[in-house]
């Protein structure tokens, strides 16, 4: 009896909205992990797309019970446009709102929190129950279990902590009309995206990352690229490598860059500062190659090899 009542109460307390990101028909993989996290809170899950080209794809994400799509595309996901729309949809109707911890999610979620007068939770890595979540603090050196006292739970989801949701039969799609939008918006001017044939760093199952030990952009390209290609891995880098111009900013792994949790992570010429470890220590297998036997990276590496990168990496690339 009591059980039944509790069950029905908790059921009615869950009604989640998830913003699914993507463009040109392609869903951002981080959003699939976000739906997986929402499913752990419970159903129903309503997916919102503000780019109608991904509505059909969103309907086929396992766990999604309904898709809301906007009539127009909110190009570039400007937070001044999207946050008021979300406020209008959520207010009084949803108990939970989840978004991925991508650069888009991080820009939109807090603004929405301010509009709803709710304190959001950033980068959750575990769902305990509908109100209680785990999130890393201090660059991943501590895990905080936090309980929200707000009526609505707003959270961003760390994609590397949840697997992507699978496919299902398509859920129904409904169009929503939005009245709310801020007239005080930033405007998009231009963008410059790094094109790469390598898998996307955030969702890759294998990552080959280089650090200061590679000494120059030329050695970075000559050693890291072929190994990554051979393994079909994404390329990553430490802050030192990025700051020295060995590769693009967007490849930085760490507290202030991407957080990854691939099956296999190669740290080549990376010492293993705590800010870097924050971005990769949840990888399943970590391999460290470094000439300094005392480098802290060896404390987290499953397999370590001490020696000269310029000899080891080409040999490895050839023999794998």
């Amino acid at each position: 009896m009591i059980f039944k009542r509790l069950f029905s109460v908790t059921r009615s307390l869950r009604d989640s909205l998830v913003l699914i990101e993507g463009s040109k028909g392609q869903i951002n993989p981080a959003s699939l992990s976000t739906v997986f996290a929402a499913a752990q809170i419970g159903e129903p899950i309503t997916a919102l797309v503000v780019d109608p080209s991904i509505a059909d794809g969103a309907a086929k994400v396992e766990g999604v019970t309904k898709v809301l799509k906007t009539g127009k595309t909110y190009n570039h996901y400007l937070s001044e446009q999207v946050s008021p729309l979300l406020k209008q949809l959520i207010d009084g109707k949803f108990t939970h709102f989840l978004i991925s911890g991508s650069s888009i999610g991080k820009s939109i979620l807090p603004r929405l929190g301010a509009l709803l007068d709710v304190q959001p939770l950033s980068d959750i890595t575990k769902v305990i129950d509908g109100k209680t979540f785990v999130r890393p603090i201090y660059a991943g050196n501590a895990l905080a279990t936090v309980k929200s006292k707000d009526n609505v739970v707003l959270a961003s989801v760390r994609a590397s902590a949840f697997p992507p949701a699978k496919e299902q039969e398509a859920a129904p799609i409904e169009e929503v009309t939005a009245q709310a939008e801020s007239d005080n918006s930033a405007e998009f001017v231009s963008e410059e995206l790094v094109t790469s044939e390598r898998p996307e760093l955030g969702s890759a199952t294998r990552v080959v990352a280089g650090g200061r030990g590679l000494k120059s952009k030329e050695t970075f390209d000559a050693l890291i690229d072929p190994l990554a290609q051979k393994l079909n891995a994404a390329i990553g880098a430490s802050r030192a490598a990025v700051d020295s111009g060995f590769c693009d900013n967007s490849l930085q792994v760490g507290q202030t860059g991407k957080i990854v949790a691939p099956d296999l992570y190669f740290a080549i010429g990376i010492s293993g500062a705590i800010q870097h470890l924050a971005g990769m220590k949840d990888a399943k297998v970590i391999v460290a190659i470094n000439k300094d036997a005392e480098a802290p990276i060896f404390n987290v590496a499953d397999i370590g090899l001490v020696g000269d990168l310029e000899a080891i990496v080409p040999e490895l690339t050839e023999k794998i």
């Binding site: 979620l109 301010a114 304190q119 939770l121 950033s122 006292k149």
Partner: protein
């Protein structure tokens, strides 16, 4: 009427970035006794950018006001900010209490209104709670445009052009003042305060406020910290001697 920039730079006092924090015995937070504290590195970059803007185009900037919300000791980081080049400062002394980003944003909104700021430059996140929320929230409360994760900021007339670091590359946004900008790591290299400037900073204004001065009794935090734990430790790995052994080991672990 003057259209000059009145920049507000919020600064947070955090455990120094080079220190590995330790969980306290009661599992309620991290140990703070006897630990070195500094300006949050991203806040330092926000301050540096504001100072450079003023140095490069003094005719554009009327004032740089630094503000910190935290314990009495947070006045140390405000003195540092004044020594680096901030003109004036405010400490909102909340004692040892934790203040969540939403409440920080609400307090900052009051300061913005009081100081008539038209550009707020913040760090993109604090390295203690890693929330990455306050700037966006302040922009939302004020209904101002926002540009997050700035790697370049240019003021042209009444418009601000911001290059942002986004997943997969960079983009450029522009907005009319007033606006909120949060800064990323690569925007600049913060300076050190020189000794003469540290001496001069002692004479610069540092206004001290308590919550009740702002018409508040207490901080309305919304999150309850149930516990704080160490992340699970990784099992010790092995060191191998050669590439062949490395490959063999990878196969053993089914990683290849």
């Amino acid at each position: 009427m003057s259209n000059k920039l009145k920049i507000l730079v919020p600064l947070k006092r955090v455990i120094d970035y080079a220190i590995k924090p330790r969980i306290n015995k009661t599992n309620t937070g991290v140990e703070t006794k006897g630990v070195k504290f500094s300006i949050n590195p991203f806040c330092d970059i926000a301050l540096e950018e504001s100072i450079r803007l003023k140095e490069k185009t003094p005719e554009l900037v009327e004032n740089i006001h630094a503000v910190s919300i935290g314990p009495t000791k947070a006045q140390d980081i405000l003195r540092t900010a004044l020594a680096k080049g901030a003109d004036t400062s405010t400490l909102i002394d909340v004692g040892e209490e934790t203040v969540e980003p939403l409440q920080v944003a609400k307090l900052l909104k009051k300061v913005v209104e009081d100081k008539k700021s038209n550009l707020v430059v913040l760090g993109k996140q604090a390295i203690d709670d890693d929330s990455n929320q306050t700037g966006q929230m302040l922009a939302g409360l004020l209904n101002w445009p926002q540009a997050t994760n700035a790697s370049k900021v240019e003021v042209k007339g009444d418009e601000v052009f911001v290059t942002r670091e986004i997943d997969g590359g960079a983009d450029v946004l522009k907005a009319k003042l007033p606006m909120v900008v949060t800064v990323d790591l690569r925007l600049n290299e913060p300076r050190y305060a020189s000794l003469p400037n540290i001496m001069k900073a002692k004479k610069k204004p540092l206004e001290k406020l308590k919550l009740k001065d702002l018409g508040l009794d207490s901080i309305d935090n919304r999150l309850e910290v149930v516990k704080v734990e160490e992340p699970p430790a990784r099992q010790a790995g092995v060191k191998v001697e050669s590439v062949d052994q490395l490959i063999e080991k990878l196969k053993e672990l089914k990683a290849l």
